[in-house]
């Protein structure tokens, strides 16, 4: 039983990590959800064998019951995870409203460095005007408007 649960935790972590590495925001949200499920299941698994009663009986000293702490942890983690997922979805929706796109946008700094390297090595290509200009995404007008030479 515990081995099966442990393998399930591993599987949840693996798929969660895979989804997290995707570029679509909804997949990232799902990936984080799977990771959270994995860790909650892990919390339950470390609580020991399943099947013990959750309550202390009248003539019982409490030794035979299921560990209560991991269950309290798991409940707390579920509530927090729910709130975080709701917030992330709202953020992803807002991003979709703003850009009409579900993809995580490029890091501007990275793009700049990549262009500079390409330029230094002599195979810099003028950006295609049809392509989205990443600089448009800067809110203020102080952002670099051209690739620094």
């Amino acid at each position: 039983m515990t081995v099966a649960l442990a393998m399930l935790v591993a599987w949840l972590f693996a798929t969660g990590t895979y989804l997290l590495l995707q570029r679509a925001l909804t997949r990232i949200v799902l990936g984080l959800g799977l990771l959270a499920h994995g860790s909650i299941l892990l919390l339950i698994t470390v609580g020991g064998r399943a099947g013990d009663p959750p309550l202390v009986g009248k003539d019982d000293d409490g030794a035979g019951i299921a560990a209560p702490l991991p269950q309290a942890f798991a409940l707390t983690a579920i509530v927090i995870g729910f709130g975080m997922t709701a917030f992330l979805l709202a953020l992803a929706y807002r991003s979709w409203v703003g850009t009409n796109d579900d993809e995580v946008q490029d890091d501007l700094e990275d793009r700049r460095v990549a262009r500079q390297v390409a330029d230094d090595e002599g195979h810099f290509r003028e950006p295609d005007p049809d392509e989205d200009e990443p600089w448009d995404e800067w809110d203020d007008d102080d952002a670099p408007t051209e690739v620094p030479k």
Binding site: I40, L42, F87, L91, S95, D142, P144
Partner: protein, 497 residues
């Protein structure tokens, strides 16, 4: 005894009150500022009590320690709490002066109070799982504050911040689960002894996992990439408080964790991480051309110094780390507030559009110079004291790599600070903003907002408290370090609660 829980409860209750009093901005501001000031008062009282009576602990709900949640205040956490609360109150004052809390819906102040409560709880908790909860309270508030305006840039950078932090929190939860599985407790005082009973490999694996999670929060190399991208786009009051506090909460938890765990085998990891963080952060700062981005990269470099003290691992090293955190929180926040003042007065934070502010706004120049010199470690400011403590500890412990890295980083810090100084305060702007051009044309000073400038000036004055009372602060930090290295008092206090 109950003093330990008050800095958490007061802001949380006030957050509820502020949320329902959205109709009246004045009520909301009075409640919010009053609550944070009250929390600051209790934090100071708590520090005084810890200083005179030793470590204070309180287990909540009448449960025995180990089942119930324990709140503990030792000298290190009480000192950090007081400094953080000072910064929180002053930044709140600044935000009120800028009127950023007046936009609808008025959730800025309530969320800010939740942030205060989360920060206080992170410092005071004596329970690993409760630390996870405290982080979540603090982080959900920070997510909301970071994306409050919901502009395109804020959403883009906010997304990185939110995703990386949720991932780190999930990892923390996993680590807490594994630690509970291995030891059967999440109470930090009980963990100290239970941990030593584990096999060496298990200790090392769990310890490294825990440190890695906290390193993400602290923006330590190689986990720093999220910070310079997400901080500068937020409103300046938000950036200032994040820059001052949030990464330092991560540093505090790393300090706390290494005292619970015995990690001699992993020490070289900390040494390397600290050295590289110091240098990489400041090199990143040098190539930037926007004031807020330069300052954001400096945060990373400065975190390296704190972890350097921790990596040295001696009493002197930890004293240095504690001093560095105490010095850094107000100084860094002050720098960001001055950046905000300049941005508000001129309309930009880009270096090439600024210039000659030493004539146009001499008060900004003065307010910037003091924390900037302090950050670079020039005597007699607080940064000198903190850096001297860390570097002297490094020399004593013969950690020459760390000392060399810290000296190089110091030089480069001065260089990048002088880049801001030359770009903003001297010379003329290449491409002046309308406000600057108007001031130049009429040869008048830039308009200075009284309330926000006063708030910044008070914070800058507060940074001078550390060097003025240098001896006292050093003694306190040294006693804090002794308690951190020898957890006997901590365990006793928790067991007796």
């Amino acid at each position: 005894m109950t003093l330990v829980v008050l800095p958490v409860i007061i802001p949380l209750v006030a957050a509820g009150v502020a949320l329902v009093s959205q109709q009246s901005l004045l009520t909301q501001r009075v409640v919010a500022l009053g609550a944070n000031a009250g929390a600051l008062g209790t934090a100071i009282a708590l520090l005084a009590q810890v200083e005179s009576d030793g470590i204070q602990a309180q287990t909540i709900g009448g449960w025995p320690a180990g089942v119930g949640i324990t709140m503990v205040a030792d000298l290190a956490s009480a000192m950090f709490l007081v400094v953080s609360m000072v910064v929180l109150v002053i930044v709140q004052w600044f935000a009120v002066g800028q009127g950023v809390d007046a936009t609808h819906p008025r959730i800025g102040q309530p969320v800010y109070l939740v942030l205060s409560a989360g920060v206080a709880m992170s410092f005071l908790t004596g329970d690993l799982f409760n630390l996870f909860v405290a982080f979540e309270v603090m982080l959900i508030a920070s997510y909301v504050l970071l994306t409050l305006g919901a502009g395109a840039a804020q959403i883009r950078t906010g997304m990185t911040y939110v995703v990386i932090n949720i991932l780190a929190s999930t990892l923390l939860l996993t680590t807490v689960g594994l630690i509970y599985g291995a030891t059967g407790t999440v109470n930090m005082a009980e963990l100290v002894t239970r941990f030593t009973e584990l096999p060496d490999d298990t200790q090392l694996a769990l310890g490294v996992l825990l440190l890695a999670v906290f390193a993400i929060k602290a923006a330590l190399f190689p986990f720093f990439f999220w910070l310079p991208d997400s901080y500068p786009t937020a409103p300046v009051a938000v950036t200032a408080v994040f820059a001052g506090l949030l990464t330092k909460v991560g540093v505090y938890t790393m300090i706390r964790a290494t005292t619970i765990l015995d990690l001699d085998e992993a020490k070289w990891v900390l040494v390397m991480a600290a050295s590289v963080t110091m240098v990489v952060g400041v090199v990143g700062a040098i190539v930037q051309s926007d004031m807020k981005r330069i300052l954001s990269f400096h945060i990373i470099s400065q975190v390296g110094y704190m972890i350097m003290g921790l990596a040295i691992g001696t009493v002197a090293g930890l004293t240095g780390a504690v001093l560095y955190v105490v010095h850094h929180i107000p100084v860094k926040t002050a720098l960001f507030l001055v950046g905000g003042l300049i941005e508000r007065a001129t309309g930009t934070a880009a270096l090439h559009r600024l210039g000659g502010l030493v004539r146009r706004a001499p008060i900004f120049a003065a307010l910037f110079a003091i924390p900037a010199l302090s950050l670079a470690g020039i005597p007699p400011f607080s940064g000198f004291l903190a850096k001297l403590a860390v570097i002297a500890a490094g020399l004593e412990a013969e950690e020459y790599i760390l000392v060399a890295a810290s000296l190089i980083a110091s030089l480069l810090t001065i260089f990048s600070m002088s880049k801001i100084w030359a770009g903003v305060f001297w010379g003329t702007a290449d491409d002046p903003t309308p406000a600057m051009a108007a001031a130049d044309e009429n040869d008048v000073k830039l308009p200075v907002d009284r309330v926000t400038t006063a708030a910044t000036a008070v914070l800058v004055a507060a940074t001078l408290v550390v060097p003025v009372f240098g001896g006292t602060v050093y003694d306190l930090a040294e006693r804090a370090a002794l308690d951190l290295l020898d957890p006997t008092n901590y365990i006793e206090a928790v067991a007796g609660s």
